[in-house]
Amino acid sequence: MNNFRFLFAFVVALALGPLVLPEFYVTLLNYIGLYAIVALGLVLLTGVGGLTSFGQAAFVGVGAYTTAYLTTVYGVSPWLTLPAGLALTAAVALSIGFITLRLSGHFLPLGTIAWGISLYYLFGSVDFLGGHTGISGIPALQIFGFELKSGRQFYYLIWAMLLVIVVATRNLLDSREGRAVRALKGGTLMAESMGVNTPRSKIVIFTIAALYACLSGWLYAHLQRFVNPTPFSLLQGIEYLFMVVVGGVAYVWGAILGAGLITILKQWLQDWLPQLLGQSGNFEMIVFGLLMILVLHRARDGLWPIILRLIPEHPERPRVAHAEALPRRAIPPAGSVLLEISNASKRFGGLIANDRMNFKVRSAEIMALIGPNGAGKSTMFNGISGVDPLTSGEISFCGERIEALEARDIARRGISRSFQHVRLLPTMSVKRSHRRPSAW
């Protein structure tokens, strides 16, 4: 109930905001909303999926420039340029994703820096996008013939969209796809051997994060009615990441908190720092950088969990009270051969860990593989489950050859494994961690 009350109070406060606040604060809130939409994508990508992007601002630019170009040059209705922008962003994100998401670990974030820079320079140097002067005269949005010309009117559109995205993101994270995404952060090995197609999950969240950014860009273009390359630079991309890290990288509400804090702080610092230092320039980045280091040192999960600690805790209830049981697969008759290993060998260079192993596992039978340390038991397990494929030999499961399959495909065929060093996901309950992939 608490959760609902909090949300209700938040929505009421939001709805009343523009009626009482002066223009300046409404503008500020508009920007917070726009930034929070991008930041939500980063929560999904970084906090949940364990990937990072410094280049989200470039996707905001794709959304903003698509609508700016189509509406000013071809006079297309803004409501049609949104799907066009989303489609273009999805295409760009998918192609970039297919190239860079294969990069593991820290290579991906470095890759995002690279395309963050290149897309920014593309906006600035392509003639039909107006170069560094940009595109002006973007039409205002119309809803049922009513023009959203002022910031106060636009405010409701931004925050309505933001709330829809918050709810959608939360539901996504609670779904099967979402649980697969949440398993990414604990390393791909465990997720893969549970049947998650990790490259696919990575591309899915990467694309969703890019789509959020594109939506923010579309809103931005019609709020400002003018675009130029500056707000889509790498520095802005870094700022988006700062927002989620300060707010709480793994929390949907952390994105909004972070966007709010950084935006207000930036406004304030841009007023004060040049006066204080007697020069003009992006000096707020000095403070942001220091703040960021401090947050990562003292509260690595961001500020939202600190706020959460103040609110009394209440147990999480499942969203769907009674989910239908999944169909049970046919049980093979007792005594029939389930798993057959023949001539399985595994070599590590000159070392032969498994030498032409042969055994069968029958249905309704418990089979143990025993041996001293270093005998090659885990190697055999890794070979069967596809985590570390065999050098030679055959494995059949229910009559089907599986030795050439990926770990996730073997898992999907019904082989489940555990690990010697338990690879638990700290954010997932025991029950969820051990569910079969199909129900995960």
Partner: protein
Amino acid sequence: MDLQIALLLAQDGITNGAIYALLALALVLVFAVTRVIFIPQGEFVAFGALTLASLQAGKLPGTLWLLLGMGAVITLMEFAKALRERRIRRIPSILLLNCGVPLILAGILFAVSPATLPLPVQVILALMLVVPLGPMIYRLAYQPIAEASVLVLLIVSVAVHVTLIGLGLYFFGAEGSRTPAFTDTSFAIGDALLQGQTLLVVVASVVLIVALYLFFERTIYGKALRATAMNRTGARLMGISATLAGRLSFTLAALIGAFSGILISPITTIYYDSGFLIGLQGLRRRHHRRSGQLSACRRRRHPGRSA
């Protein structure tokens, strides 16, 4: 395109290549020892060049204030730590290292006018101002979270990078600087001129690389760094301090960066934010080397897997 242009381009390519090789070396060193992707590496290039330019212009370089400020913060932190651990005897050395040395430097800069000093002395002064920033940044930004994931360390790197860029703008302004060449000699090869400075960059890079090779091969500290790079845990079990290794690698990275900046500032104009793109080039080069190394590691690690 004639021979003259070809030679000119070749000179440019060789000098840039030498600088990138040095920076790539520093990045590999820092990453292998501390797992930090040191994006601010480029800032040391800019700070080195611009500090020298300030000294030559007779201005007090802003990096002095940074050095004094960071030294003061570290002194306070170490002071509190020493008190907590009741190791009072460490306090004089903490004070001397973090406050004393920067203050002596400041004293020198105030006492003599640096613009009148000979170039080698100016270079040494600039290095003394910029190089200690390396270990200080490690102490303040990375050491408290040395065990964090590569991703967190990378985000910290980006944070350090934007902080230093902002400080660079404040200290040196938006205008670029170019320092006078170390040498005016040039050699004629056919129609084209071979600039003495180009030769100097190449020779200095080679000397630095050889010196680093000797350091890693022949000295105990160099061997300690290599051991840490190969296996952090193993090195710790052998009594090598991870903190010391981290500071040492950052000192070397700062030295290489600042020295590279001083070398190229007579050839290209350096701005407060020039470092980033130079550093990115270094990163790209580092990748080629690093990925080769990693796959070698993976191959080696397999036999270790046991039941």
